[in-house]
């Protein structure tokens, strides 16, 4: 928040738009992200005639789904002023358990999948306890749990994750329902559920409260410790789920399968308008951020330029998006519109 805004003195003024400011500010951010994404998809027709259509969007949504899953949890942790660096390892854990416990068998799927998610969630609970009860900085705590979990995966698999996920999982990843790939339907359901949980559930409300002002949340009598642990647990749960989906998609697990999701998950959350300092953000923004990043990657991969240039362009576009999505830009817009109205 800018100093100016904070210095803003409230008055009992007739032309007062403060009441709607927060909502519309977020809506504008989300709108701009999706608009940017659509513009990029349509614009990419220049690069390839196969681009700019539903097929491309489908591929993007499909690939973005993994990032969306884990970014949701990351977003919740960031909301309570934390950061989850363990998601890479927990994604790996989910994937490794999927292939080793299922071992290519459909039989016990209904028991094993929940068991995997429980194990992953426990990792998050451990991180959450460290952060909220033992007061270890989130950065160190989640980094440490991440290293530990990774090391355990390494030790238990002796370096080579065995087995396959259940064939039915791999089939599901390739199946279509009502003309849409099943993973995209899963994504839609996940986004709807995640949005409700973060923005409209009692738990979500408490998350915002704790993220907004932990001391006040304590004074008000909120179970801050439980709320915080919950955020880390959900993050690990989502990471585990991402791991299962990835293993099903790739029909196997590797020990570095989660690495590509750590920084992007943070980037998606931040590009989506959440504050890294906690207490502010919207899941739909994160979803937009994840899709934007994936779209960018897809378009860049089709661009026949050197990897160095690709990376530069990617960074440049992210920087540009951030500049456009700044709160100040929106504020300036509001001021301008406000003065126009007068």
């Amino acid at each position: 928040m800018s100093v100016d805004q904070r210095l803003g003195e409230a008055g009992r003024m007739p032309a007062d738009t403060r009441g709607t400011s927060r909502l519309s500010g977020e809506t504008v951010t989300i709108g701009v992200i999706f608009a940017l994404t659509v513009a990029m998809i349509l614009g990419s027709r220049v690069i390839s005639p196969a681009f700019g259509g539903w097929n491309q969007a489908e591929t993007i949504l499909y690939l973005a789904s993994f990032l969306v899953f884990c970014s949701f949890g990351q977003g919740l942790v960031i909301l309570v002023r934390g950061l989850d660096l363990s998601i890479a390892s927990v994604i790996t854990l989910g994937g490794v358990l999927t292939t080793t416990w299922l071992a290519g068998d459909n039989g016990d799927l209904v028991f094993i999948l929940p068991a995997i998610l429980v194990v992953c969630t426990l990792v998050g609970v451990a991180s959450g306890i460290g952060v909220s009860l033992l007061k270890v900085p989130p950065f160190i705590m989640t980094m440490a749990t991440g290293i530990i979990v990774y090391s355990l995966c390494l030790g238990v698999t002796r370096g080579t994750p065995r087995g396959y996920p259940a064939p039915v999982l791999n089939d599901v990843m390739r199946a279509e329902l009502a003309g849409l790939p099943v993973p995209i339907l899963v994504l839609a359901a996940f986004v709807a559920g995640g949005f409700l949980l973060q923005s409209y559930s009692t738990y979500g409300r408490r998350l915002y409260a704790v993220g907004n002002n932990p001391a006040a949340a304590h004074v008000v009598g909120l179970p801050t410790v439980r709320v915080t642990i919950g955020a880390y647990a959900i993050s690990a749960l989502c990471a585990g789920f991402t791991g299962i989906m990835l293993a099903s998609y790739a029909n196997g697990a590797t020990l570095r399968m989660g690495d590509d999701y750590l920084l992007p998950s943070i980037a998606a959350v931040v590009v989506g308008g959440s504050s890294i300092l906690g207490g502010k953000g919207n899941f739909l923004g994160t979803v937009g951020g994840a899709i934007l990043l994936t779209t960018l990657a897809t378009i860049l991969s089709a661009l026949g330029i050197e990897q160095g240039w690709k990376t530069i362009v990617e960074g440049g576009v992210i920087l540009f998006a951030l500049m456009v999505l700044r709160e100040q830009v929106y504020e300036a817009l509001r001021t301008w519109m406000g003065s126009e109205r007068r």
């Binding site: 409230a10 400011s21 915002y208």
Partner: protein
């Protein structure tokens, strides 16, 4: 008045986005004068301060400083022009030392190599001494200071820049005793300096200031000679209507009321072996000078702090107040209203309705889901009890004025449905209208058999509000004053430890 004005402001206005904070402000301050600016929270006082100190720039209007046009773009620019400010929200850095805070932003006075710590300390010591502050160690970190000490430091810092115009924004909010301040201000005005003084405490203003400019809704209503107007007239100018009586007589507590909370031998921090009992239908006041252990007492009862020894019973049964959550669930509930609104009270990013509904979120949710309309429906009654207008429900709390923020905090305490409220200085820094609303709420609260324990730094408030008042000095209760003998003089004497002034009664 014929001389050149120290400060002349004309037609000043300021907009934040679509929000108008200052509409049109005109005022004039002459040298040697202490000029008060009066107005409710949100009238535009703070915006005026920010503009004059260079923190924000006005949209229109002119300012002249000693006859010269003045348009500061930075705080340092304002300082160079001769304006320095002691801010209401204390602009001190807790992680720096007293000396460093005092000398910011140019702590080190040397050019090529940082000045020796000892030399900095000596310079700071000299400044403190010049303004008659001898009990603050320049080496101490500000976070180790009490609120009153910080306030004095803030003021000394403003004084030390040798301004032509000094702005004091609520300088006594945390000062239990204004004598020191007044002495320094008078010393300054004797040399020709003008002072712009903002305070909610009219008695202080009358003591110190000659004239006052009254603001309402961002406009300057009038500048008056304080000697010639009555309080009621000033209030009328501030709120735009005739005020209600400041303190209606309290309703007598019902006879034979049951004891809700009973504390025995509480000991923690400065607090030594304190016992008290809180009865239903009672507003029990606590009076004390700054830092006598009252904060520890309130925090212990609210479950925010801990206590080393002692026992608390609620409805006759012992309760463990180890966290605010436990306190809320103990007996019929204890809700704590914290002293620091900004750090422990409000959730700035949430709407007012969401702030208020927080304690009841699981109950008002439908199918585990909650949204703005449910918040509003559930909090309407509590908001009415503190006279918070409906239209603020959807506002982000950080966008509200201090008074409305305090109303939100109090409404939330009501939402907890606790039978006892433990309120630490609930009217600090709020305007008259809000104070009235708070008093009404407190009376209504205890009228149906609930109880309030309240500390206030304004003795008059306690005198008019409480059924009974405890006085704490040196960590112990030194007096338990009944309604019949409750006067400001009596409380003041007891608060200074003059136990002889009153027969010391054991807490019942």
């Amino acid at each position: 008045m014929g001389s050149v004005a120290a400060l002349a402001v004309a037609g000043l206005s300021k907009r934040y986005g679509a929000t108008v904070a200052l509409r049109s402000l005109t005022m004039r301050i002459v040298p040697h004068e202490v000029h008060a600016v009066l107005g409710e929270n949100g009238a535009g006082k703070s915006t005026l301060v920010k503009i004059l100190s260079g923190a924000v720039q006005p949209n229109s209007g002119t300012i002249e400083l000693a006859g010269q046009p003045y348009a500061p773009r930075t705080l340092l620019g304002a300082r160079r022009a001769g304006i320095s400010t002691a801010f209401q929200e204390l602009s001190l850095l807790p992680n720096l030392s007293v000396a460093e805070n005092l000398l910011l932003p140019r702590v080190s006075g040397t050019r090529f190599w940082p000045e020796a710590a000892g030399s900095i300390t000596r310079r700071a010591e000299a400044v403190l001494k010049e303004w008659a502050v001898t009990d603050i160690d320049p080496v101490a970190r500000v976070e180790a200071l009490s609120l009153a000490e910080r306030q004095r430091l803030e003021i000394v810092r403003a004084l030390s820049h040798r301004p032509r115009l000094l702005i004091l924004d609520e300088p006594t909010a945390a000062l239990p005793d204004a004598t020191w301040l007044f002495r320094q201000v008078r010393r300054l005005t004797e040399t020709g300096v003008a002072v712009l003084y903002i305070s909610h405490r009219l008695s202080e203003v009358r003591e110190l200031c000659q004239r006052a400019t009254v603001l309402r809704n961002g406009e300057s209503i009038d500048t008056v000679d304080l000697a010639g107007v009555k309080d009621d007239q000033i209030f009328a100018m501030m709120v735009g209507r005739a005020p209600e009586r400041a303190y209606p007589a309290p309703v007598a507590a019902a006879a034979g009321a049951e004891t809700l909370i009973e504390a025995r031998g509480l000991t923690t921090g400065r607090l030594r072996d304190v016992s008290l009992s809180l009865k239903s239908g009672e507003i029990l006041g606590v009076a004390a000078l700054e830092g006598q252990g009252q904060l520890e007492l309130f925090r212990a009862l609210g479950g925010v702090g801990t206590h080393e020894a002692g026992e608390v019973r609620y409805n006759g049964r012992p309760v463990a107040l180890t966290s605010p959550r436990r306190a809320l669930r103990a007996g019929d509930g204890i809700a704590y209203v914290p002293e620091e609104r900004k750090t422990e009270g409000i959730f700035g990013g949430l709407t007012a309705a969401a702030n208020m509904s927080l304690p009841q979120v699981p109950r008002i949710a439908r199918g585990g889901l909650i949204h703005h309309r449910l918040d509003v429906a559930a909090t309407r009654t509590a908001a009415e009890a503190v006279s918070l207008a409906d239209r603020y429900f959807g506002f982000r709390v950080s966008d509200l004025s201090g008074g409305n923020q305090q109303k939100v905090v109090l409404a939330r305490a009501l939402m907890t449905r606790a039978r006892c409220l433990v309120m630490f200085d609930p009217t600090r820094g709020v305007d008259v209208g809000t104070k009235q609303a708070i008093y009404t709420m407190m009376r209504g609260f205890v009228a149906d058999g609930r109880a309030i324990l309240v500390y206030s730094s304004e003795l008059s408030e306690l005198v008019h509000l409480c059924h009974r008042c405890l006085v704490i000095y040196g960590g112990r209760i030194v007096a338990d004053v009944g309604r019949d003998r409750l006067t400001e003089e009596y409380l003041l004497a007891a608060a200074h430890g003059h136990g002889g002034a009153a027969p010391l009664r054991a807490a019942s």
